[in-house]
Symmetry: C2
Subunit: 284 residues, 2 copies
């Protein structure tokens, strides 16, 4: 696969397409055509080639789930880039889906490309702890360059549920930023008493003990902080690599630092591109 | 107030009316006319008198909130039955609203009647820890017969949010019962790692490591178990009094016992009636 390659990070609700040439992304596009919005995947893939060129394609993420084009099996961890390349599922001769990864108790689809891509590109060491924030945040351990274990926390989904339909919804509509309110939320989250801490946000509103403009940042800190505190309690590493975009990355950086560990950010798009290039290089 | 008395436990979405005569409930009725469904409270109160008789009325719960008829202030804890009686807010000469109670960090409206009623009727000791399961579960400490402190956990609301709109919703539609799956959920909840434990339910479905019929009971055990573990870590008492109906009461009983404490059930309607009678007896 030395010529151009189209890579698609195809999630449940969003999709990002990259045209890769000479080891780098030269064109990219993001839209809301996640797998839930697509019925005819072959037609969608043809349309992508119409826009990005008639090149081989590697697809990753929920496109390989029961909601997607072809349901691919989960590879059992530990998994390296070569394992993903050897287990590609070809929808046609030039279009392949990257399989997901499972442990005895957890699953991922799509994140494996970013995690192993970050390692393959030297953005993180070959022995490291990485976190990918998101709807279903992944905390992963790589050893000797292979993904050996991971845990998913549905922090982002809890945030969305609380923001959309809970008693706290009116308070959570505001913007989230890293500041004193966020850090107080992170400290509260370290108590790992989520159902009670969440109601405290409502009580603070009724008792007027916190400015309501701070409620969203506090709540975000609480949710991320309780995730970070729980995960960090189980690991020894002094550095956590945060694979994320800049907004979520800044929140996790602050929460990890507040919990006494060093945090380094890896751009999630860079990591995805690196992962696809590495898989492409290993392709049989 | 020695004659008949009408008591209304008037919540956000539900309402329960009791006709009290000679120290006992002689007639009761429950409907979905919570404060959110009512516009003209005076007319509703007149309609209740039309059905239950032209008697004095005591109203408790969200009817005293900003959503209700008259917004009553929160009494600062510690609070006893006599304090509630002295702070009744009269909507008219024969219709009074029981105020809520606040600590520096938490609030309640309506639960104070049940909690202090359970004490006043001798259903629990004058020094005790009580829990009222529900949408917003209350864990309260009474000392010398007065409500001195409490903490709210929005466990029931989290359950409703997850059941209605999360990735877990298809798995949580089943019935919840006290059994092995519930107890395994309680044990998982004691890890106090909620966002990760919840995603484990999804992973167990995809990996087929747990019968899906058990998912709702496991999830309920997980949520209640994490609440119970967090609260019990902060208290020394060997006995917890569960003020509840039979279904939720059985779940909390099992979760508390699994966490090594004794649990005793107090019927929540009996406690409410006892609380209203005690307030009526102290009425100035």
């Amino acid at each position: 696969m030395s010529g151009p390659l189209i890579a698609v990070d195809w999630g449940t609700t969003n999709r990002r397409v990259f045209l890769l040439e000479h080891g780098a992304a030269v064109q990219t596009d993001q839209d809301a055509c996640g797998v839930r919005a697509v019925e005819d995947f072959a037609a969608e893939v043809a349309a992508i080639r119409g826009r990005f060129g008639d090149h081989p394609m590697l697809l990753a993420g929920m496109v390989g789930s029961s909601l997607g084009w072809r349901e691919t099996r989960y590879l059992p961890a530990p998994v390296g880039v070569a394992d993903l390349a050897q287990a590609l599922v070809f929808a046609d001769a030039r279009t392949a889906i990257v399989p997901g990864v499972a442990t005895a108790a957890d699953v991922m689809r799509g994140e494996e490309v970013q995690l192993l891509g970050a390692v393959a590109a030297g953005l993180v060491p070959t022995d490291a702890v990485l976190v990918q924030p998101g709807t279903h945040a992944k905390w992963a351990r790589v050893a000797a360059g292979r993904l050996v274990d991971f845990t998913t926390a549905m922090t982002g989904e809890l945030w969305a549920l609380l923001r959309a339909g809970s008693v706290l919804a009116p308070q959570l509509a505001g913007e989230v930023c890293v500041g004193d309110a966020f850090r107080r939320g992170v400290a509260e989250g370290a108590r790992r008493d989520l159902a009670a801490s969440l109601f405290g946000i409502r009580a603070a509103c009724l008792l007027r003990t916190r400015a309501d403009a701070d409620a969203a940042s506090f709540a975000s800190g609480l949710l991320i902080g309780s995730e970070v505190a729980a995960r960090i309690a189980a690991i020894e590493q002094s550095t956590i690599h945060v694979v994320a975009g800049p907004a979520l990355g800044a929140l996790y950086l602050a929460a990890i630092q507040a919990n006494g560990r060093r945090a380094l950010i890896v751009d999630s798009h860079d990591a995805f591109v690196a992962g696809i290039l590495a898989i492409g290089a290993h392709r049989p």
